[in-house]
């Protein structure tokens, strides 16, 4: 049997260190078989993005991520689940979000991390606005239909 999952959720301005988070999960344990980590970064393929600003709903951001985590660990045999979501201003290359799932089994770890990301996209109260290199500032990023579809598949 897999013991009840530990769920850790943080909403913060500061950067995170994937290695530190991963070590906190696996250190000294003998029962973890698979660790899947997802890092979402601020991306700029065409050189048009100067910065992203991420607004969030304090309090609800934390509790909604916790709810997503609980739904996830009810569904898969997960030993440890960590979710870290940043807010504030980002330039391309910056870390935005981290999800780590540890399980005895690889498919559960993959599914859990993927599930959390899909629901985080559609349900966690964060909003992005972009500042462009051409000086155009402040347009809000539109929600994607594909993100709703990704969450619907679970």
């Amino acid at each position: 049997m897999v013991k009840a999952a530990n769920i850790s959720v943080r909403v913060q301005r500061e950067d995170f260190d994937v290695a530190v988070e991963q070590k906190r999960i696996t250190n000294g344990r003998r029962d973890i078989g698979a660790v899947v980590s997802f890092v979402g970064l601020c991306r700029d393929e065409q050189g048009t993005l100067a910065a992203l600003e991420l607004e969030h709903y304090p309090g609800m951001a934390q509790s909604e991520l916790q709810r997503i985590g609980q739904n996830c660990t009810r569904r898969w045999p997960i030993q440890e689940l960590s979710i870290v979501h940043r807010f504030g201003k980002f330039v391309p290359g910056d870390n935005i979000v981290l999800v780590i799932a540890a399980s005895p089994h690889r498919q559960a770890a993959f599914d859990a991390a993927s599930f959390v990301m899909d629901f985080l996209k559609t349900n966690a109260p964060f909003w992005k606005r972009q500042h462009l290199t051409n000086g155009e500032n402040g347009s809000w990023v539109s929600a994607k239909i594909e993100d709703d579809q990704a969450a619907d598949r679970w």
Binding site: H85, N123, F126
Partner: protein, 83 residues
Amino acid sequence: MKLVYFAWVRERIGIDEETISLPDNVTNVSQLLTWLKDRGEGYAAALEHSDVIRVAIDQEHADAGDSIVHAREIALFPPMTGG
């Protein structure tokens, strides 16, 4: 009752939050949106396409028919784009 606004809903309405007293006949989410729309130009612009507006009651996602009678804090915001 406290209302809080985020992202372009906040920008169009022009304020982050406000405390209001609702008329007795405004008891659920969709009635609240209809009532707010008439409060001025900013509200009308923010709630023009009210079907895309998401609502949270006391920091949990809510649906159009959900009761707001016992709510302490109601949030209005556009579809989320985090991650």
